[in-house]
Subunit: 136 residues, 2 copies
Amino acid sequence: MQPAAAKFDTSSLLLALSRYTSAVSDMEKTILLPSLLRDVPSDDVWDCEATQTFRDLHGSYLMLKAIRNTVESSPVPLDDHNINTALNKTLEPLLDTDPEVLFHFHLRGLFSVMSDLTKKTQSLTKKYKDIIGVAN
Amino acid sequence: MQPAAAKFDTSSLLLALSRYTSAVSDMEKTILLPSLLRDVPSDDVWDCEATQTFRDLHGSYLMLKAIRNTVESSPVPLDDHNINTALNKTLEPLLDTDPEVLFHFHLRGLFSVMSDLTKKTQSLTKKYKDIIGVAN
């Protein structure tokens, strides 16, 4: 079996994952005092409406780091409790779907969400610089 | 930026992708006369019902190879026409979902579909051996 590294270094999905972990790494290097992000409201609609709880920038910071850890090294949890009820209902019709369609659906979905999370990480890093008064 | 290879070689998703491409490679080495698979019906329900067209084992063989090519080197198509209408409707409620939930949803989904496709590839290789009368 050829090592995974040799086979996937040109994959766009892998590049999207790599770009994300680099953005989180930059965020960690920049944000030396994460506690300054506490109680600072997020501009993102989904931070308030989708989660139905208030998530401050500190919460976003922790979430972005946790996802990076999952991307880099965690096993994929097949009984993931992070899937909410609405998505569980969404999953039901997918179970009978042609695996080719399902493959493209999840590949595209994962690529897209990694791009969004990369932008969000860069935006959070910029907001921290604004808070401490460092020019971007 | 650290090379992607160094960061993701322990990722379970990457291992699932690697296992799949290895299974397709074995299939290609074994199936020297793919035309023998023509008009041989597939046992998989989704090959007939989900796609609403008859897909013989030769069709499955081509599909499994095409997915391997996408996994290994193709860019992720963001305007993918392989997403059917039912899945487009499924996508709509996902757009407002917390990206953390969406990330876990697609990570789990891609991991799961790669595992299914790996089993399917191994099963197709075994069926070819049955057809040509080689013991498994």
